[in-house]
Symmetry: C2
Subunit: 142 residues, 2 copies
């Protein structure tokens, strides 16, 4: 076992995740959207008509942070706002046809940096990462 204790694991994992996140953020050049915008757009599609607050919670950011991201997506014509039918304070967000098309195109164009990198790994490592994704999500949850 190369990393015997939990503190060492915490340290190593923290550095690895930060480094990979930074690296991925730098590889966004093939898309018009940043990773943050893309994640938000994807969540809007997945959650159906959704309020900004719910979206912020889903992405685990504070509402003001999400306000700005949503505004950029709306400016780009990728999401639309509608008034809530019964509660005048709330707003409902949904994906426009252009937004849906961009998501399809983004999913289709998957010879992206990370996918290429993954393809270069041994199959065993990919299997390992498939399982690790679940654990990482559990770490980030709550």
């Amino acid at each position: 076992m190369t990393l015997p204790t939990d503190p060492a694991l915490a340290s190593a994992l923290r550095l690895s995740v930060m480094r990979l996140a930074r690296r991925m953020r730098a590889e966004r050049s093939d898309s018009a959207l940043t990773l943050t915008q893309l994640a938000a757009l994807s969540s809007v599609e997945r959650l159906g008509p959704v309020t900004p607050g719910e979206l912020a919670e889903a992405e685990r950011v504070q509402p003001p942070s999400m306000t700005r991201v949503v505004a950029s997506l709306q400016d780009a014509g990728l999401v639309a706002r509608a008034p809530h039918p019964t509660d005048g304070r709330q707003v409902l967000l949904s994906v426009t046809p252009a937004g849906a098309a961009l998501l399809r195109e983004d999913r289709r164009r998957r010879e992206a940096w990370l996918a290429q990198r993954l393809a270069a790994l041994p199959a065993d490592d990919r299997d390992l990462l498939r399982d690790a994704v679940e654990v990482l999500d559990r770490l980030a949850a709550q």
Copy 2:
């Protein structure tokens, strides 16, 4: 297998890593340094006397980005600069006693957010992450 194809894995891993990185960045409150500063300080210690350029390369960041981080560490008295013995353009960075003490303290104080989180996981998941760290590093490398 819940994630059969590589594109799906790339997508899931990307989201997970970004989310966890964001989450960890928000949990830095127990330390005086940000994660970026701490990573840079750790690299200065590990690499011995090191030039800013080498340090930027090690952290996979452009030199201007590292200049600012190093300046903050120097302002905090954690790293020191010395002229290069033969090349007047270069600068050599090293950790001060205060910097080394901070690194020791930081490694000792490991009941941090991530370590607590990890301790709450089943042992199997920790073993999985130990292996995954190596793969993540390979993804971020080069």
